[in-house]
Symmetry: C2
DNA sequence: TAAATACCGACTGAATTACTGGGTTATAAC
DNA sequence: GTTATAACCCAGTAATTCAGTCGGTATTTA
């Protein structure tokens, strides 16, 4: 798994789309403005997202982008994989022709971990993120807290 | 959170160290040979790991590296953070002076997700990985399966 | 017809990756 | 003590990726 700033941009843009796309299509210009990402870079990202059917573009005036499926059907892993490309983790590519036994054991361990990370991100959908935040916001509104939530940083 | 190939190299090297360091110190030359990582690059990685007390170097002939603490006390997040540096996720840096409300909401969502990923990786230790693999190997030996485990890839 | 938008591709500076090569210490073995 | 072995340190660097600019074309609405 690869989790770079590029993936972050893509997730951020998709979140923006999920949040603002309820009423109609969202233009890349709007997302660019909202999130501080250059328009042309967004175009590159959305070309990748579109090829994986995660978004759907509508041309012409009043056009823009819709989510390609419902927010609940789009996982974070989907988004990251779309823009970051799925790289081969181990150099031996699954073939057990590594020099030593230690090498391939390590590679297997890493491969298992990568799969776990992937599954973790595959279990979180765009819809989840949006709902979780709304719930959280209600709780905060109840207590009328002014203190930011940065105190909950752990480990 | 940032999960790049650099972090992968570091985790791989630490795994190698955990596996082979039972009897004595492991040299970078050995890890380089085992894992196919250049010696000087390993030196860079281990300089970072050492500064975080994740490894302990012993100079001179017969020297090499030990784990800085027990494998159970070293999390994957520790390793990745040591070499990849902890980058600021949001551009607004926590300050709520973003242009629009949508921007900061998206940033909050991304920030929460990042924290979750971090906590996930902070919960997995080197020791966990090694033990899990040993368990798995026993299971495989029981069924004498030839089929690789790549069929469990999900979406 | 004109404007707005997605769509497309080539190019580019900056950063990062992964590596090379030149050292200098510390220490164990001889 | 000398020497070999290792960690340690630092400067440079080709290749790649990141994030962006620029200049277009295609489609659709007004």
């Amino acid at each position: 798994m690869r989790l770079s700033t590029k993936g972050r941009y893509a997730v951020t843009a998709m979140l923006d789309l999920a949040l603002n796309g309820k009423t109609g299509p969202v233009t890349l210009a709007e997302i660019s403005e909202n999130q501080g990402i250059s328009l042309s870079y967004l175009e590159q990202l959305f070309a990748a997202l579109r090829s994986k059917d995660l978004v759907r573009g509508v041309r012409g005036p009043g056009g823009g982008y819709y989510l390609g499926k419902s927010a609940d059907e789009i996982s974070i892993a989907n988004i990251i994989c779309a823009v970051d490309e799925w790289v081969e983790f181990t150099r031996c590519g699954g073939r057990q022709n590594c020099s030593g036994g230690a090498r391939c054991l390590t590679h297997t361990l890493w491969d298992d971990l990568s799969t776990e990370i992937f599954n973790f991100l595959a279990d979180i959908s765009l819809g989840d993120l949006v709902r979780r935040n709304l719930n959280k916001k209600e709780e905060e509104d109840d207590s009328l807290s002014i203190v930011p939530q940065s105190s909950s940083q752990a480990a």
